[in-house]
Symmetry: C2
Subunit: 109 residues, 2 copies
């Protein structure tokens, strides 16, 4: 028997993969756009204003992480979000951070 079971490192690696995929402004922007409905690469490219190859690589990152999936239609590829957890999370985070800011300001008096 062990005094301390070692932490399940695989789980945290898996989570880190998700978090890393989210850890870029352009990818977050694209995720939010895709939450309103699927988007082709060309739309997303225009949206973020980077090179098409850059956007393609960002999408590959999101897909690899399992956050989005794609659908080919002729020459175009449409991506859409595969998880429903994002909006709730960001709403929560932004709510909390706004609270903290307010409390911080109030404490200055």
């Amino acid at each position: 028997m062990k005094a301390k079971p070692p932490p399940d490192r695989r789980r945290y690696q898996a989570r880190a993969r998700i978090a890393k995929a989210m850890a870029h402004p352009s990818r977050l922007l694209m995720l939010e756009a895709m939450e309103a409905g699927e988007r082709c690469v060309c739309e997303l490219t225009e949206l973020v204003g980077a090179d098409q190859s850059t956007v393609s690589k960002h999408l590959a990152v999101l897909k690899q992480a399992g956050l989005v999936e794609d659908r080919k239609e002729g020459v175009m590829v449409f991506y859409r979000v595969k998880v429903c957890c994002l909006k709730g999370f960001w709403d929560c985070i932004e709510g909390v951070l706004a609270e903290n800011l307010k409390a911080q300001r109030a404490a200055l008096r």
Copy 2:
């Protein structure tokens, strides 16, 4: 008037800062440990099994992102989680990914 209002890039940069802070297995492990109650650096150092200076830097990243706060007590410093959004998020993500896996396997028949 504009046809397309440009996306609010600051918001996505702010979100990316949060996601980046979460984007490391050791930091996620520490966050989860701290959710059960505050922890001193020494405990967290033992938990992740890395150099103390490494852990200290990880904690600085989390603090900088606003995810944790610290409290000094004598020589020791205790860190604790400052946002409540994490557990719900990871539960959601892990649930969805497990679902996807199940569906994937079922589709193989």
